[in-house]
Amino acid sequence: MTVPARQSQPAGASQGGDVLRVEHVAKSFGAVTALRDVNLRLGPGEVLGLLGDNGAGKSTLMKILCGFQPPDAGAILINGREVHLRSVDHARSLGIDTVYQDLALINQLSVYHNMFLNREKVRWPLLANRTMRRLAREYLDEMGVNIPSVDTDVAALSGGQRQAIAVARAVYSNAKILLLDEPLAAMGAKEAAIILDQVRDLKRKGDVSVIIIAHNYGQALEICDRINLLQHGMITFDKPAKDTSVAELNDIVIAEYRRALEDRQRPGANGR
Protein backbone atom coordinates (compact mmCIF):
# COMPACT_ATOMS: atom_id res chain seq x y z
CA MET A 1 0.00 0.00 0.00
CA THR A 2 1.40 3.38 -0.90
CA VAL A 3 0.93 5.98 1.72
CA PRO A 4 0.19 9.34 0.14
CA ALA A 5 2.76 12.05 0.72
CA ARG A 6 2.17 13.65 4.07
CA GLN A 7 -1.10 15.50 3.95
CA SER A 8 -1.22 18.77 5.74
CA GLN A 9 -4.70 17.89 7.00
CA PRO A 10 -5.63 14.56 8.48
CA ALA A 11 -9.23 13.49 8.07
CA GLY A 12 -11.65 15.95 9.57
CA ALA A 13 -9.03 18.35 10.83
CA SER A 14 -9.88 21.80 12.00
CA GLN A 15 -7.84 24.70 10.77
CA GLY A 16 -4.46 24.89 12.56
CA GLY A 17 -4.34 25.40 16.30
CA ASP A 18 -4.32 21.69 17.10
CA VAL A 19 -2.30 20.88 20.18
CA LEU A 20 -1.54 17.39 18.96
CA ARG A 21 -1.76 15.82 15.53
CA VAL A 22 -0.98 12.26 14.62
CA GLU A 23 -0.42 11.60 10.93
CA HIS A 24 -0.24 8.19 9.30
CA VAL A 25 1.25 6.49 12.32
CA ALA A 26 1.90 2.77 11.95
CA LYS A 27 3.35 0.19 14.32
CA SER A 28 3.91 -3.55 14.06
CA PHE A 29 5.23 -6.10 16.51
CA GLY A 30 6.73 -8.87 14.42
CA ALA A 31 3.90 -10.23 12.29
CA VAL A 32 1.20 -8.41 14.24
CA THR A 33 0.15 -5.03 12.91
CA ALA A 34 -1.08 -3.02 15.86
CA LEU A 35 -1.55 0.31 14.10
CA ARG A 36 -2.00 0.53 10.34
CA ASP A 37 -2.55 4.19 9.53
CA VAL A 38 -3.71 6.38 12.37
CA ASN A 39 -4.71 10.00 11.87
CA LEU A 40 -5.90 11.90 14.86
CA ARG A 41 -6.10 15.47 16.12
CA LEU A 42 -6.62 17.07 19.47
CA GLY A 43 -7.72 20.67 19.86
CA PRO A 44 -6.76 22.98 22.72
CA GLY A 45 -8.77 22.23 25.84
CA GLU A 46 -10.51 19.38 24.11
CA VAL A 47 -11.36 16.04 25.71
CA LEU A 48 -11.15 13.30 23.13
CA GLY A 49 -12.57 9.86 23.80
CA LEU A 50 -10.68 7.05 22.10
CA LEU A 51 -12.85 3.96 21.90
CA GLY A 52 -12.27 0.62 20.31
CA ASP A 53 -12.37 -3.11 20.73
CA ASN A 54 -9.76 -5.06 22.68
CA GLY A 55 -6.67 -5.34 20.52
CA ALA A 56 -7.69 -2.46 18.27
CA GLY A 57 -4.40 -0.74 19.10
CA LYS A 58 -5.51 1.83 21.68
CA SER A 59 -2.77 1.08 24.19
CA THR A 60 -0.13 0.89 21.47
CA LEU A 61 -1.14 4.35 20.28
CA MET A 62 -0.92 5.64 23.85
CA LYS A 63 2.54 4.18 24.33
CA ILE A 64 3.71 5.90 21.16
CA LEU A 65 2.21 9.23 22.17
CA CYS A 66 3.81 9.15 25.60
CA GLY A 67 7.26 8.39 24.20
CA PHE A 68 7.51 4.85 25.55
CA GLN A 69 8.02 3.36 22.11
CA PRO A 70 8.62 4.92 18.68
CA PRO A 71 6.24 4.44 15.74
CA ASP A 72 7.45 2.54 12.66
CA ALA A 73 6.14 5.25 10.38
CA GLY A 74 4.21 8.49 10.46
CA ALA A 75 4.54 11.78 12.26
CA ILE A 76 3.53 13.33 15.55
CA LEU A 77 3.04 17.10 15.65
CA ILE A 78 2.79 19.15 18.79
CA ASN A 79 1.48 22.68 18.23
CA GLY A 80 2.12 22.18 14.53
CA ARG A 81 5.75 21.21 14.92
CA GLU A 82 6.89 17.66 14.20
CA VAL A 83 8.50 15.92 17.19
CA HIS A 84 10.35 12.65 17.62
CA LEU A 85 9.59 11.43 21.10
CA ARG A 86 12.78 9.83 22.34
CA SER A 87 11.63 8.79 25.80
CA VAL A 88 8.93 9.20 28.39
CA ASP A 89 11.00 11.98 29.92
CA HIS A 90 11.30 13.71 26.59
CA ALA A 91 7.54 13.54 26.00
CA ARG A 92 7.02 14.93 29.48
CA SER A 93 9.32 17.81 28.80
CA LEU A 94 7.06 18.61 25.83
CA GLY A 95 4.05 18.59 28.13
CA ILE A 96 2.64 15.11 27.51
CA ASP A 97 1.81 13.14 30.62
CA THR A 98 0.21 9.74 30.94
CA VAL A 99 -1.81 7.54 33.23
CA TYR A 100 -1.07 4.00 32.17
CA GLN A 101 -3.52 1.17 32.26
CA ASP A 102 -1.18 -0.67 34.60
CA LEU A 103 -0.86 2.59 36.57
CA ALA A 104 2.95 2.41 36.83
CA LEU A 105 2.81 2.60 40.61
CA ILE A 106 5.53 1.15 42.83
CA ASN A 107 3.97 -0.95 45.59
CA GLN A 108 6.97 -0.59 47.86
CA LEU A 109 6.89 3.19 47.88
CA SER A 110 4.65 5.54 49.79
CA VAL A 111 1.77 7.44 48.22
CA TYR A 112 3.69 10.70 48.06
CA HIS A 113 6.83 9.14 46.60
CA ASN A 114 4.70 7.55 43.91
CA MET A 115 3.01 10.85 43.16
CA PHE A 116 6.38 12.51 42.60
CA LEU A 117 8.22 9.57 41.06
CA ASN A 118 10.87 10.87 38.67
CA ARG A 119 9.66 14.39 39.35
CA GLU A 120 10.83 14.50 42.91
CA LYS A 121 11.17 17.75 44.78
CA VAL A 122 14.83 17.88 45.74
CA ARG A 123 16.87 20.03 48.07
CA TRP A 124 20.15 18.82 46.63
CA PRO A 125 21.38 16.26 47.34
CA LEU A 126 18.45 15.09 49.41
CA LEU A 127 14.79 14.54 48.67
CA ALA A 128 12.52 17.26 49.97
CA ASN A 129 10.21 14.73 51.55
CA ARG A 130 8.35 17.22 53.68
CA THR A 131 7.45 19.36 50.67
CA MET A 132 6.34 16.33 48.67
CA ARG A 133 4.26 15.03 51.57
CA ARG A 134 2.53 18.38 51.98
CA LEU A 135 1.84 18.79 48.26
CA ALA A 136 0.58 15.24 47.92
CA ARG A 137 -1.83 15.85 50.79
CA GLU A 138 -3.02 19.09 49.18
CA TYR A 139 -3.55 17.54 45.76
CA LEU A 140 -5.46 14.56 47.09
CA ASP A 141 -7.65 16.74 49.28
CA GLU A 142 -8.33 19.02 46.35
CA MET A 143 -9.41 16.02 44.30
CA GLY A 144 -11.53 14.73 47.12
CA VAL A 145 -9.66 11.44 47.27
CA ASN A 146 -9.97 9.74 50.62
CA ILE A 147 -6.59 8.33 51.61
CA PRO A 148 -5.86 8.23 55.34
CA SER A 149 -2.15 8.93 55.07
CA VAL A 150 0.20 9.82 52.24
CA ASP A 151 2.88 7.80 54.07
CA THR A 152 1.01 4.56 53.41
CA ASP A 153 2.64 2.17 50.97
CA VAL A 154 0.68 2.02 47.75
CA ALA A 155 0.45 -1.77 48.17
CA ALA A 156 -2.04 -1.27 50.98
CA LEU A 157 -4.53 0.75 48.92
CA SER A 158 -7.67 -0.31 47.05
CA GLY A 159 -7.80 -0.43 43.26
CA GLY A 160 -9.73 2.81 43.10
CA GLN A 161 -7.38 4.64 45.43
CA ARG A 162 -4.43 3.48 43.37
CA GLN A 163 -6.06 4.73 40.21
CA ALA A 164 -6.80 8.08 41.83
CA ILE A 165 -3.14 8.45 42.78
CA ALA A 166 -2.01 7.66 39.25
CA VAL A 167 -4.43 10.26 37.89
CA ALA A 168 -3.44 12.84 40.47
CA ARG A 169 0.19 12.32 39.56
CA ALA A 170 -0.51 13.18 35.94
CA VAL A 171 -3.03 15.93 36.55
CA TYR A 172 -0.73 17.88 38.84
CA SER A 173 2.29 17.59 36.59
CA ASN A 174 1.38 20.77 34.70
CA ALA A 175 0.93 18.71 31.56
CA LYS A 176 -0.55 20.34 28.47
CA ILE A 177 -1.64 17.03 27.00
CA LEU A 178 -2.94 14.32 29.28
CA LEU A 179 -3.28 10.71 28.15
CA LEU A 180 -5.56 8.57 30.29
CA ASP A 181 -5.51 4.85 29.46
CA GLU A 182 -8.68 3.30 30.91
CA PRO A 183 -8.70 5.65 33.90
CA LEU A 184 -11.97 4.23 35.20
CA ALA A 185 -11.21 0.54 34.76
CA ALA A 186 -10.80 -0.51 38.38
CA MET A 187 -13.29 1.87 39.87
CA GLY A 188 -16.66 1.79 41.53
CA ALA A 189 -19.16 4.52 40.70
CA LYS A 190 -18.12 6.68 43.64
CA GLU A 191 -14.44 6.55 42.78
CA ALA A 192 -15.12 7.00 39.08
CA ALA A 193 -16.99 10.17 39.93
CA ILE A 194 -13.81 11.59 41.45
CA ILE A 195 -11.93 11.08 38.21
CA LEU A 196 -14.79 12.27 36.01
CA ASP A 197 -15.03 15.35 38.18
CA GLN A 198 -11.32 15.93 37.78
CA VAL A 199 -11.54 15.76 34.01
CA ARG A 200 -14.50 18.15 34.04
CA ASP A 201 -12.46 20.52 36.17
CA LEU A 202 -9.63 20.41 33.65
CA LYS A 203 -12.15 21.07 30.90
CA ARG A 204 -13.48 24.12 32.72
CA LYS A 205 -10.00 25.55 33.10
CA GLY A 206 -9.48 24.82 29.42
CA ASP A 207 -5.69 24.82 29.24
CA VAL A 208 -5.20 21.06 29.18
CA SER A 209 -6.18 18.75 26.35
CA VAL A 210 -7.07 15.18 27.22
CA ILE A 211 -7.25 11.87 25.40
CA ILE A 212 -9.20 9.23 27.30
CA ILE A 213 -9.25 5.59 26.37
CA ALA A 214 -12.46 4.05 27.57
CA HIS A 215 -14.52 0.91 27.32
CA ASN A 216 -17.68 2.32 28.77
CA TYR A 217 -19.40 4.36 26.06
CA GLY A 218 -21.76 6.00 28.53
CA GLN A 219 -18.92 7.38 30.64
CA ALA A 220 -17.04 8.49 27.54
CA LEU A 221 -20.00 10.40 26.12
CA GLU A 222 -20.54 11.95 29.52
CA ILE A 223 -17.18 13.74 29.64
CA CYS A 224 -15.73 13.83 26.13
CA ASP A 225 -16.14 16.56 23.54
CA ARG A 226 -15.42 14.28 20.65
CA ILE A 227 -15.34 10.54 20.06
CA ASN A 228 -12.89 8.63 17.88
CA LEU A 229 -13.25 4.95 17.22
CA LEU A 230 -10.15 2.84 16.57
CA GLN A 231 -10.74 -0.34 14.58
CA HIS A 232 -8.08 -2.62 13.15
CA GLY A 233 -5.36 -0.03 13.61
CA MET A 234 -7.22 2.87 11.99
CA ILE A 235 -9.52 5.65 13.15
CA THR A 236 -12.82 4.80 11.50
CA PHE A 237 -15.17 7.18 13.24
CA ASP A 238 -14.81 10.80 14.32
CA LYS A 239 -17.78 12.77 15.63
CA PRO A 240 -18.52 15.33 18.32
CA ALA A 241 -19.91 13.58 21.37
CA LYS A 242 -23.19 15.49 21.11
CA ASP A 243 -23.82 14.14 17.60
CA THR A 244 -23.50 10.49 18.53
CA SER A 245 -25.03 8.14 21.05
CA VAL A 246 -24.32 4.95 22.92
CA ALA A 247 -26.71 3.24 20.51
CA GLU A 248 -24.80 4.39 17.44
CA LEU A 249 -21.45 3.32 18.89
CA ASN A 250 -22.89 -0.01 19.93
CA ASP A 251 -24.24 -0.59 16.44
CA ILE A 252 -20.81 -0.02 14.93
CA VAL A 253 -19.17 -2.46 17.28
CA ILE A 254 -21.93 -5.05 16.92
CA ALA A 255 -21.59 -4.79 13.16
CA GLU A 256 -17.91 -5.54 13.58
CA TYR A 257 -18.63 -8.61 15.69
CA ARG A 258 -21.13 -9.79 13.07
CA ARG A 259 -18.56 -9.44 10.34
CA ALA A 260 -16.06 -11.39 12.39
CA LEU A 261 -18.62 -14.13 13.01
CA GLU A 262 -19.53 -14.31 9.34
CA ASP A 263 -15.87 -14.57 8.45
CA ARG A 264 -15.55 -17.57 10.73
CA GLN A 265 -18.60 -19.30 9.35
CA ARG A 266 -17.67 -18.90 5.71
CA PRO A 267 -16.77 -22.31 4.29
CA GLY A 268 -13.04 -22.76 4.20
CA ALA A 269 -12.40 -20.44 7.13
CA ASN A 270 -10.32 -21.93 9.92
CA GLY A 271 -9.29 -24.78 7.67
CA ARG A 272 -12.76 -26.34 7.70
Binding site: D89, D102, A104, I106, V122, L126, D151
Partner: protein, 327 residues
Protein backbone atom coordinates in the same frame (compact mmCIF):
# COMPACT_ATOMS: atom_id res chain seq x y z
CA UNK B 1 -2.09 1.81 60.81
CA UNK B 2 -0.87 5.08 59.50
CA UNK B 3 2.67 6.20 58.96
CA UNK B 4 5.76 4.38 57.69
CA UNK B 5 7.35 3.35 60.97
CA UNK B 6 7.63 -0.36 61.31
CA UNK B 7 4.78 -1.67 59.19
CA UNK B 8 7.16 -1.96 56.27
CA UNK B 9 8.49 -5.30 55.15
CA UNK B 10 12.08 -4.18 55.56
CA UNK B 11 11.63 -3.99 59.30
CA UNK B 12 11.47 -7.76 59.38
CA UNK B 13 15.20 -7.66 60.07
CA UNK B 14 14.59 -6.80 63.69
CA UNK B 15 12.89 -10.11 64.43
CA UNK B 16 15.65 -12.29 63.09
CA UNK B 17 18.33 -10.19 64.72
CA UNK B 18 16.65 -10.65 68.07
CA UNK B 19 16.42 -14.39 67.55
CA UNK B 20 20.05 -14.64 66.56
CA UNK B 21 21.09 -12.69 69.62
CA UNK B 22 19.10 -15.08 71.77
CA UNK B 23 20.92 -18.02 70.19
CA UNK B 24 24.17 -16.24 70.66
CA UNK B 25 23.71 -15.47 74.31
CA UNK B 26 22.40 -18.96 74.82
CA UNK B 27 25.66 -20.33 73.50
CA UNK B 28 27.68 -17.84 75.50
CA UNK B 29 25.98 -18.55 78.80
CA UNK B 30 26.42 -22.25 78.27
CA UNK B 31 30.11 -21.56 77.82
CA UNK B 32 30.05 -19.77 81.13
CA UNK B 33 31.74 -16.53 80.18
CA UNK B 34 30.80 -13.29 78.49
CA UNK B 35 32.46 -13.09 75.14
CA UNK B 36 30.63 -10.04 74.07
CA UNK B 37 32.08 -7.44 76.37
CA UNK B 38 35.79 -8.10 76.47
CA UNK B 39 37.99 -5.70 74.62
CA UNK B 40 39.90 -8.27 72.62
CA UNK B 41 36.68 -9.99 71.59
CA UNK B 42 35.11 -6.73 70.48
CA UNK B 43 38.20 -6.04 68.39
CA UNK B 44 37.94 -9.46 66.88
CA UNK B 45 34.26 -8.97 66.10
CA UNK B 46 34.74 -5.61 64.48
CA UNK B 47 37.52 -6.93 62.27
CA UNK B 48 35.27 -9.73 61.10
CA UNK B 49 32.16 -7.60 60.75
CA UNK B 50 33.41 -4.47 59.02
CA UNK B 51 34.28 -5.92 55.58
CA UNK B 52 31.00 -7.84 55.49
CA UNK B 53 29.09 -4.67 56.32
CA UNK B 54 30.78 -2.51 53.71
CA UNK B 55 30.28 -5.01 50.90
CA UNK B 56 26.74 -5.68 52.08
CA UNK B 57 25.78 -2.02 51.52
CA UNK B 58 26.48 -2.54 47.83
CA UNK B 59 24.63 -5.85 47.70
CA UNK B 60 21.61 -4.24 49.37
CA UNK B 61 21.43 -1.67 46.56
CA UNK B 62 21.79 -4.38 43.93
CA UNK B 63 19.31 -6.78 45.51
CA UNK B 64 16.78 -3.98 45.86
CA UNK B 65 17.02 -3.09 42.18
CA UNK B 66 16.68 -6.76 41.28
CA UNK B 67 20.28 -7.85 40.68
CA UNK B 68 23.14 -9.49 42.58
CA UNK B 69 26.92 -9.32 42.35
CA UNK B 70 28.84 -12.55 42.95
CA UNK B 71 32.09 -11.09 41.62
CA UNK B 72 32.61 -8.59 44.41
CA UNK B 73 34.76 -10.98 46.43
CA UNK B 74 37.15 -11.30 43.49
CA UNK B 75 37.22 -7.55 43.04
CA UNK B 76 38.22 -7.42 46.68
CA UNK B 77 41.22 -9.68 46.00
CA UNK B 78 42.14 -8.08 42.68
CA UNK B 79 42.07 -4.40 43.65
CA UNK B 80 45.06 -4.43 46.07
CA UNK B 81 47.25 -6.00 43.39
CA UNK B 82 46.25 -3.31 40.94
CA UNK B 83 47.06 -0.71 43.58
CA UNK B 84 50.45 -2.40 44.06
CA UNK B 85 51.13 -2.30 40.32
CA UNK B 86 49.98 1.28 39.94
CA UNK B 87 52.18 2.53 42.76
CA UNK B 88 55.26 0.31 42.50
CA UNK B 89 55.52 -0.20 38.74
CA UNK B 90 53.84 2.81 37.19
CA UNK B 91 54.96 5.35 39.76
CA UNK B 92 51.52 6.72 40.43
CA UNK B 93 51.69 8.69 43.69
CA UNK B 94 50.27 6.92 46.74
CA UNK B 95 46.79 8.26 47.49
CA UNK B 96 46.05 8.61 43.80
CA UNK B 97 47.09 5.00 43.28
CA UNK B 98 44.57 3.87 45.88
CA UNK B 99 41.78 5.99 44.47
CA UNK B 100 42.58 4.90 40.92
CA UNK B 101 42.60 1.24 41.93
CA UNK B 102 39.17 1.65 43.51
CA UNK B 103 37.77 3.53 40.54
CA UNK B 104 39.37 1.43 37.81
CA UNK B 105 38.92 -2.02 39.31
CA UNK B 106 35.70 -1.47 41.26
CA UNK B 107 34.06 0.89 38.84
CA UNK B 108 35.38 -0.92 35.78
CA UNK B 109 34.31 -4.40 36.78
CA UNK B 110 31.00 -2.97 37.98
CA UNK B 111 30.52 -1.37 34.58
CA UNK B 112 31.27 -4.66 32.85
CA UNK B 113 28.77 -6.42 35.12
CA UNK B 114 26.23 -3.76 34.20
CA UNK B 115 26.99 -4.17 30.51
CA UNK B 116 26.56 -7.96 30.66
CA UNK B 117 23.39 -7.75 32.72
CA UNK B 118 21.59 -4.67 31.44
CA UNK B 119 22.82 -4.29 27.89
CA UNK B 120 23.34 -7.92 26.92
CA UNK B 121 20.54 -9.22 29.10
CA UNK B 122 22.35 -12.00 31.01
CA UNK B 123 21.01 -12.89 34.44
CA UNK B 124 23.31 -11.12 36.90
CA UNK B 125 23.75 -14.33 38.87
CA UNK B 126 25.60 -15.90 35.92
CA UNK B 127 27.19 -12.76 34.50
CA UNK B 128 28.89 -11.83 37.77
CA UNK B 129 29.92 -15.42 38.41
CA UNK B 130 31.70 -15.27 35.05
CA UNK B 131 33.45 -11.97 35.70
CA UNK B 132 34.40 -13.29 39.13
CA UNK B 133 36.18 -16.32 37.67
CA UNK B 134 37.94 -14.16 35.10
CA UNK B 135 39.13 -11.81 37.84
CA UNK B 136 40.27 -14.71 39.98
CA UNK B 137 42.36 -16.06 37.13
CA UNK B 138 43.73 -12.62 36.37
CA UNK B 139 44.74 -12.11 39.99
CA UNK B 140 46.55 -15.43 40.21
CA UNK B 141 48.39 -14.97 36.92
CA UNK B 142 49.33 -11.36 37.60
CA UNK B 143 50.59 -12.28 41.04
CA UNK B 144 52.09 -15.59 39.92
CA UNK B 145 50.16 -17.00 42.83
CA UNK B 146 52.26 -15.11 45.34
CA UNK B 147 51.67 -12.54 48.00
CA UNK B 148 52.91 -9.02 47.49
CA UNK B 149 54.07 -6.46 50.03
CA UNK B 150 52.20 -3.23 50.61
CA UNK B 151 53.92 -0.55 48.52
CA UNK B 152 56.37 1.17 50.91
CA UNK B 153 55.17 4.54 49.66
CA UNK B 154 51.71 3.79 51.00
CA UNK B 155 52.59 2.56 54.47
CA UNK B 156 51.86 5.94 56.00
CA UNK B 157 48.36 5.91 54.58
CA UNK B 158 47.41 2.64 56.20
CA UNK B 159 46.24 4.19 59.41
CA UNK B 160 43.54 6.12 57.52
CA UNK B 161 42.25 2.98 55.92
CA UNK B 162 42.11 0.41 58.62
CA UNK B 163 45.48 -0.55 59.99
CA UNK B 164 45.48 2.27 62.54
CA UNK B 165 43.61 0.35 65.16
CA UNK B 166 41.49 -2.74 65.07
CA UNK B 167 38.46 -0.51 65.38
CA UNK B 168 39.24 1.76 62.45
CA UNK B 169 37.53 -0.48 59.93
CA UNK B 170 34.34 -0.57 61.92
CA UNK B 171 34.50 3.22 62.02
CA UNK B 172 34.56 3.18 58.22
CA UNK B 173 31.67 0.74 58.22
CA UNK B 174 29.62 3.06 60.43
CA UNK B 175 30.45 6.15 58.37
CA UNK B 176 29.53 4.33 55.17
CA UNK B 177 26.36 3.07 56.83
CA UNK B 178 25.32 6.69 57.27
CA UNK B 179 26.27 7.59 53.71
CA UNK B 180 24.50 4.63 52.11
CA UNK B 181 21.47 4.90 54.34
CA UNK B 182 21.06 8.50 53.18
CA UNK B 183 21.65 7.43 49.59
CA UNK B 184 18.95 4.76 49.77
CA UNK B 185 16.34 6.59 51.81
CA UNK B 186 16.83 10.24 51.05
CA UNK B 187 18.01 10.69 47.48
CA UNK B 188 16.46 10.27 44.06
CA UNK B 189 19.02 7.53 43.38
CA UNK B 190 17.73 5.43 46.25
CA UNK B 191 14.10 6.08 45.43
CA UNK B 192 14.66 5.07 41.82
CA UNK B 193 16.59 1.97 42.92
CA UNK B 194 13.55 0.84 44.91
CA UNK B 195 11.23 1.76 42.04
CA UNK B 196 13.24 -0.25 39.49
CA UNK B 197 13.27 -3.32 41.73
CA UNK B 198 9.67 -2.95 42.85
CA UNK B 199 8.10 -2.53 39.42
CA UNK B 200 10.55 -2.39 36.53
CA UNK B 201 7.98 -1.65 33.84
CA UNK B 202 6.18 0.88 36.00
CA UNK B 203 9.39 2.68 36.84
CA UNK B 204 10.31 2.87 33.17
CA UNK B 205 6.84 4.11 32.28
CA UNK B 206 7.31 6.83 34.84
CA UNK B 207 10.49 7.77 32.99
CA UNK B 208 13.04 6.29 35.40
CA UNK B 209 16.24 5.33 33.57
CA UNK B 210 16.50 1.77 34.87
CA UNK B 211 19.69 0.99 32.95
CA UNK B 212 21.51 3.88 34.57
CA UNK B 213 20.37 2.81 38.02
CA UNK B 214 21.57 -0.75 37.54
CA UNK B 215 24.89 0.20 35.97
CA UNK B 216 25.46 2.65 38.81
CA UNK B 217 24.67 0.16 41.54
CA UNK B 218 26.98 -2.45 40.02
CA UNK B 219 29.73 0.16 39.94
CA UNK B 220 29.08 1.28 43.52
CA UNK B 221 29.20 -2.32 44.71
CA UNK B 222 32.42 -2.93 42.80
CA UNK B 223 34.02 0.13 44.34
CA UNK B 224 32.96 -0.91 47.84
CA UNK B 225 34.51 -4.32 47.16
CA UNK B 226 37.76 -2.76 45.93
CA UNK B 227 37.85 -0.42 48.92
CA UNK B 228 37.33 -3.27 51.35
CA UNK B 229 40.01 -5.37 49.69
CA UNK B 230 42.53 -2.57 49.97
CA UNK B 231 41.57 -2.05 53.61
CA UNK B 232 42.15 -5.72 54.35
CA UNK B 233 45.54 -5.57 52.65
CA UNK B 234 46.58 -2.68 54.89
CA UNK B 235 45.16 -4.33 57.95
CA UNK B 236 46.97 -7.63 57.38
CA UNK B 237 49.99 -5.77 56.01
CA UNK B 238 50.21 -8.00 52.97
CA UNK B 239 48.47 -8.35 49.62
CA UNK B 240 47.17 -11.88 49.39
CA UNK B 241 45.71 -13.93 46.55
CA UNK B 242 43.51 -15.80 49.05
CA UNK B 243 44.23 -18.73 46.71
CA UNK B 244 41.29 -17.69 44.58
CA UNK B 245 38.51 -19.67 46.19
CA UNK B 246 38.45 -17.98 49.58
CA UNK B 247 37.29 -14.85 47.81
CA UNK B 248 33.77 -16.27 47.80
CA UNK B 249 33.55 -15.83 51.52
CA UNK B 250 33.18 -12.06 51.87
CA UNK B 251 30.68 -12.00 49.02
CA UNK B 252 28.50 -14.79 50.43
CA UNK B 253 28.65 -13.25 53.89
CA UNK B 254 27.66 -9.89 52.48
CA UNK B 255 24.68 -11.30 50.58
CA UNK B 256 23.68 -13.30 53.66
CA UNK B 257 23.99 -10.19 55.82
CA UNK B 258 21.77 -8.24 53.44
CA UNK B 259 19.12 -10.95 53.37
CA UNK B 260 19.22 -11.62 57.12
CA UNK B 261 18.82 -7.87 57.46
CA UNK B 262 15.52 -8.04 55.63
CA UNK B 263 16.49 -7.23 52.05
CA UNK B 264 14.21 -9.02 49.61
CA UNK B 265 15.96 -11.35 47.16
CA UNK B 266 13.30 -10.45 44.62
CA UNK B 267 13.93 -6.74 44.83
CA UNK B 268 11.99 -3.70 45.91
CA UNK B 269 12.79 -3.57 49.59
CA UNK B 270 15.67 -3.61 52.01
CA UNK B 271 17.58 -1.43 54.43
CA UNK B 272 21.19 -0.53 55.11
CA UNK B 273 20.67 -0.68 58.86
CA UNK B 274 19.32 -4.22 58.46
CA UNK B 275 22.43 -5.23 56.53
CA UNK B 276 24.61 -3.65 59.20
CA UNK B 277 22.98 -5.75 61.90
CA UNK B 278 22.91 -8.78 59.66
CA UNK B 279 26.67 -8.52 59.26
CA UNK B 280 27.09 -7.93 62.99
CA UNK B 281 25.12 -11.06 63.71
CA UNK B 282 27.21 -13.13 61.31
CA UNK B 283 30.38 -11.80 62.90
CA UNK B 284 29.07 -12.52 66.40
CA UNK B 285 28.24 -16.07 65.37
CA UNK B 286 31.58 -16.68 63.74
CA UNK B 287 33.68 -14.87 66.32
CA UNK B 288 31.60 -16.08 69.23
CA UNK B 289 31.70 -19.72 68.29
CA UNK B 290 35.44 -19.53 67.83
CA UNK B 291 36.01 -17.86 71.16
CA UNK B 292 33.93 -20.31 73.16
CA UNK B 293 35.96 -23.03 71.55
CA UNK B 294 33.56 -24.85 69.32
CA UNK B 295 35.80 -26.99 67.18
CA UNK B 296 36.51 -25.63 63.73
CA UNK B 297 35.06 -28.67 61.97
CA UNK B 298 31.40 -28.46 63.01
CA UNK B 299 31.53 -24.65 63.24
CA UNK B 300 29.81 -24.16 59.92
CA UNK B 301 26.99 -26.51 60.89
CA UNK B 302 26.03 -24.09 63.66
CA UNK B 303 26.64 -21.18 61.40
CA UNK B 304 24.40 -22.50 58.64
CA UNK B 305 21.71 -23.55 61.09
CA UNK B 306 21.70 -20.09 62.65
CA UNK B 307 21.28 -18.45 59.25
CA UNK B 308 18.41 -20.79 58.42
CA UNK B 309 16.69 -20.14 61.73
CA UNK B 310 17.06 -16.41 61.19
CA UNK B 311 15.57 -16.61 57.72
CA UNK B 312 12.70 -18.83 58.82
CA UNK B 313 11.94 -16.34 61.56
CA UNK B 314 12.15 -13.56 59.01
CA UNK B 315 9.70 -15.13 56.60
CA UNK B 316 7.24 -16.22 59.27
CA UNK B 317 7.30 -12.88 61.03
CA UNK B 318 6.64 -11.10 57.75
CA UNK B 319 3.73 -13.43 57.09
CA UNK B 320 2.25 -12.95 60.54
CA UNK B 321 2.63 -9.23 60.24
CA UNK B 322 0.93 -9.32 56.85
CA UNK B 323 -2.04 -11.23 58.24
CA UNK B 324 -2.26 -8.93 61.21
CA UNK B 325 -2.53 -5.85 59.02
CA UNK B 326 -6.12 -4.73 58.89
CA UNK B 327 -7.34 -3.54 55.53
Amino acid sequence: MSSGGCDRPDCSCSGSVVILLIIYFGVISSAGRSVFFEHADLQNLSVIAAPIMIIAYGEVLLLICGEIDLSVGFIYVFAPYVMHFFVDYYGIPGPLGIILAILVVGGGVGWINGFLTVTLGLPSFIATLGTGFVLSGMTLSMAHGEQAPIPPLLLGLGKWLGSGSNFSQIVWAVILLGVFHMLLRHTRWGLHTIAVGGNLLGAREAGVNSARIKYGNFMLTGMLGAFTGIQIAFQTNVIDTFAGGAAYQPMFYAVAAAVIGGTAMLGGSGTMVGAFFGAAVLAILEGGFEVIGISAFPLQIYFGAAILIAMIANVQLTRLRGEGRVR
